[in-house]
């Protein structure tokens, strides 16, 4: 177990290095001038800026400096927010994205498992059809449409009620988190519901379920102890990639609901060609995802004894 974990962590480090390199290469292939400004400035200033950001050095040296920075956990100074370090930006804004992401994943996982189980129980009957219809709707409508619509609906609901049931946008309190995390988790929830449903149906015809029934266990117990638990396993395996998709896919929700997350910073940084912020966020996200996948894999081993033994 320990060696396995160590091996995975080592692999993860190499992967992060690869991500860093890919980001660096991509960034330096980008046409455009990160130091250009709306108002023209003189040569001297340009030289100073290049020096400040180390752009005057050869690319190989810049690469080494960049890698060195990563090792020290220092991503440099932002190009657009000249007084702020990328580390500060990540430190201040990532927790927001992470909070949103965790809630969305929790919502997606719980909702997906429950709804999936329900649909499997009521296979081909009204609840199944109703849920699957909604699931299909959630899967096939783009997230930005869902986000915009839910905000509009919230405005109308608040207007109808005459008081603010849930805030329309913003961040800070528990009430602010509910709708954005649900919107963010919706697609994944729909996906997990489908996965859970097919996994449940597969388990229904498994031999050990027949055994459990032959043992005369009450249906609820069979369902809970045998069916649900085994059906959840495949759902857990996709949780790693799902967390990845959710945390990096938060831009839209962050934009629409005015949430100060890291995703928004990334999009803004890309539009401003803010080298350090782009590279810093990408590497950070990459490292986060890699560690997330490792954690989920280890978690999976803990849940599924079959994996643990291997």
């Amino acid at each position: 177990m320990l060696t396995y974990t160590l091996k995975r962590v080592l692999q993860g480090i190499v992967t992060v290095w690869f991500i860093a390199t890919a980001t660096f290469v991509a960034m330096h292939a980008v046409p455009g001038d990160p130091l250009a400004n709306q108002r023209a400035t003189n040569e001297q200033i340009r030289l100073n800026l290049e020096q400040r950001y180390g752009l005057d050095r050869p690319v190989s040296e810049q690469y080494l400096v960049f890698l060195g920075g990563i090792l020290r956990g220092d991503f440099g100074i932002s190009f657009t927010q000249e007084n702020r370090r990328v580390n500060d930006i990540i430190r201040e804004n990532f927790p927001v994205s992470a909070t949103l992401g965790i809630l969305a994943v929790a919502f997606a996982a719980l909702g997906g498992i429950l709804l999936g189980a329900l649909t499997a129980l009521f296979r081909d009957r009204v609840p199944d059809l109703a849920i699957m219809f909604l699931v299909i709707l959630a899967i096939s409508v783009p997230s930005f449409v869902v986000a915009a619509f839910s905000q509009l609906m919230l405005v109308d609901i608040n207007a109808y009620l005459g008081f603010s049931l849930l805030p329309v946008a913003g961040w800070g309190t528990l009430r602010h988190m509910i709708v954005p995390s649900m919107v963010l988790g919706l697609g994944t929830m729909a996906y997990l519901t489908r996965l859970m449903r097919s996994s449940m149906l597969e388990i229904t015809s498994a031999d050990f379920i027949r055994t459990a029934r032959a043992k005369g266990l009450p249906p609820a117990r069979i369902f809970l102890k045998h069916q649900l638990r085994n059906a959840v396993l495949p759902v857990v395996t996709v949780l790693g990639p799902a967390i990845a998709a959710i945390t990096t896919g938060g831009f839209v929700v962050e934009l629409v609901f005015a949430i100060p997350g890291l995703g928004r910073y990334f999009v803004e940084a890309v539009q401003q060609l803010d080298y350090t912020v782009i590279m810093g966020t990408t590497v950070f996200y990459g490292a986060f995802l890699v560690s997330m996948v490792i954690v989920v894999d280890l978690l999976y081993g803990w849940i599924d004894p079959r994996v643990r033994l291997e």
């Binding site: 023209a40 400035t41 201040e92 929790a106 129980l121 405005v155 800070g172 528990l174």
Partner: protein
């Protein structure tokens, strides 16, 4: 067997559903607990509580949204509108604009502007938020910082009017050589590089704000990066800055004119550039003002909002590339394009937002001339769309260029929605009228700037926002030496007029020069004016006295007040 055979499914599902409901309830509880924990955790890491209401009469609080996060609030490096808006509230320069857009005394009590320099006498009750007096040294320090090339200030050029400013910025002189001295704590003496007739307007601009040296040095390069990295001398001070999320301004008790400030708190807990979200927030009663896009007008009318409009001062136009190898260096081609351009159609039919005005000149309508509005004193030559004439010019252009068919022209544009709309409109317009093929080159901001600088375009959709309320903020854009003249227009006649406008002290002479510049720009078809940007906004009816302006702090809440029952 007529009886339905028994099945195991029904009781199974009934029981299981009960179980499932239990699980659901449990996970819901868990979910809420998780949210609670996260909310608690984020409150530790500096999350923010939102008051939630647009206007609170009791506490004299208003809530509004910010379009974006200010990159930093170091006035020596601020360039964007949001920073300038915030700085306009938390800082005060030598002079400021009042509610009627007249220049009035700020930190300076009196001032005297001469052809060779200026003197400012500072008021003795001007204080920083920590109680220390605002002195002339604070201005000297800030201004030196701006022209210091090590500081890489984008706005350094605006201090080139001060003696040696340009030389220092180019690295040829030390910052200490800047022609500004603190005669004593209360007196600031400025030497000009060349006569400047509008220095009073310049010092009202955010870049000329004071910065206190001891404080700046104590922040170790982080001045303006955070709420504790600033000291304030304006009507408000910042009490909270959660990056990307929340800014909160509160009345500055040390401000000399504190009695005139009526609002206690300006809370800005929303940062979003999404206009729809902002309008939704307003609709929900969470914020006190919102700017509307064309697409929200119908809804606004339906909701019977009281709308206002004003011009934000900027002008948008299409620039040509005048480099020799480019077809657009040909006058007749440009003239042909100019003759089919109908800014009225663009604004009225395509943009469709009331605040916008069809542009007819580089100089916007709000600029003042000698006595009255500049454009009334110097009406721009009228270009009436004339397709037949345009085709004639196109034929001549083809002859002069020696081509039978004009090759595709590249129209460089940005990635904002309205820029797309505009580019697509022009593509279709030139295709429809002159059968010219236009290739749209849509680029993100920095890539567009690079292409503009390197001349990789035929036409580019550009715009310019005013830095100070003098026609010169536009007037020198096409001077051959101006770095912002990215199409490299080079016309000695125009250069001559720019020099006159820059150096003359007499307003009549200067305005005549601008009139000439305006004529040249239109007659030589140097650019195609598109629109003067305007904004349509809605404000909470309880909020009064907010000032909107084209140049300077916009909107300005320092004179705003609340009424209980509108």
């Amino acid at each position: 067997m007529d009886k339905q055979p028994p099945t195991y499914r029904d009781p199974m599902s009934r029981l299981a559903v009960r179980q499932l409901l239990w699980l659901g309830a449990l996970s819901l509880a868990g979910f809420v607990a998780l949210m609670g924990a996260l909310a608690w955790a984020s409150s530790i890491t500096g999350g923010s509580a939102i008051s939630g209401r647009a206007v609170d009469y009791e506490t004299k609080t208003i809530t509004r949204a910010l379009a974006q996060e200010p990159p930093q609030l170091d006035s020596t490096r601020a360039t964007d509108q949001v920073s300038i808006f915030v700085l306009g509230h938390i800082m005060e320069g030598l002079l400021r604009y009042d509610a009627s857009n007249r220049l009035v005394s700020g930190v300076a009590e009196r001032w005297d502007i001469r052809p060779d320099g200026a003197t400012f006498w500072l008021r003795d009750d001007a204080r920083w938020s920590d109680g220390r007096p605002v002195t002339a040294h604070d201005f000297v320090f800030a201004w030196r910082k701006i022209v210091d090339p090590a500081n890489a200030s984008e706005y350094a050029f605006i201090l080139y009017y001060v003696k040696n400013g340009e030389a220092i910025n180019g690295g040829q002189m030390a910052p200490e050589a800047l022609g500004v001295t603190a005669v004593d704590d209360r007196t600031l003496e400025v030497e000009f590089e060349r006569p400047v007739g509008f220095f009073d307007k310049l010092v009202a601009f955010a870049v000329y704000l004071p910065v206190r040296e001891d404080f700046y040095d104590s922040r170790d390069g982080r001045y303006g990066a955070d709420v504790e990295d600033l000291v304030y001398n304006g009507p408000f001070m910042m009490t909270r800055w959660v990056h990307g999320a929340h800014l909160r301004l509160e009345k500055n008790p040390q401000y000399w004119n504190r009695n005139a400030v009526q609002l206690n708190v300006i809370d800005m807990p929303y940062v979003t550039s999404d206009t729809a979200a902002v309008v939704n927030l307003f609709k929900d009663g969470s914020i006190a003002s919102a700017t509307l896009g064309a697409e929200q007008l119908d809804d606004a009318m339906k909701l019977r909002w009281k709308l206002g409009r004003y011009s934000d001062g900027s002008v948008f136009y299409i620039d040509f590339n005048f480099r020799q190898e480019r077809l657009t260096s040909n006058f007749h081609l440009r003239r042909a394009l100019q003759l089919v351009n109908d800014s009225g159609e663009l604004v009225n039919k395509v943009i469709g937002l009331p605040g916008y005005l069809p542009a007819v000149s580089l100089f916007p309508i709000w600029l003042n001339g000698v006595e009255g509005p500049f454009r009334q004193e110097y009406p721009p030559p009228v270009v009436t769309p004339d397709l037949a004439l345009a085709r004639q010019h196109l034929e001549r252009a083809k002859q002069e260029l020696g081509v039978t068919e004009i090759p595709p022209l590249v129209l460089l544009t940005g990635d904002a929605p309205i820029a797309n709309k505009q580019a697509e409109y022009f593509q279709n317009l030139f295709q429809r009228t002159l059968e010219l093929e236009i290739r749209i080159d849509k680029q993100i901001f920095k890539q567009r700037l690079e292409k503009m600088t390197s001349g990789d375009f035929d036409m580019v959709a550009a715009g310019w926002g005013p830095d100070f309320a003098d026609p010169l903020t536009y007037g020198d854009l096409y001077a051959s030496w101006n770095g912002n003249n990215r199409g490299k227009y080079n016309n000695p006649e125009l250069d001559e007029q720019v020099r006159i406008a820059q150096n003359a002290l007499d307003q009549q002479t200067r305005m005549d020069a601008f009139g000439e510049i305006q004529r040249i720009l239109i007659e030589d078809a140097v650019q195609l004016p598109n629109y003067e940007r305007g904004l349509v906004y809605v404000e909470d009816p309880r909020l009064k006295g907010v000032v909107h302006r084209s140049v300077g702090t916009d909107p300005d809440y320092s004179t705003a007040y609340l009424v209980e029952n509108p």
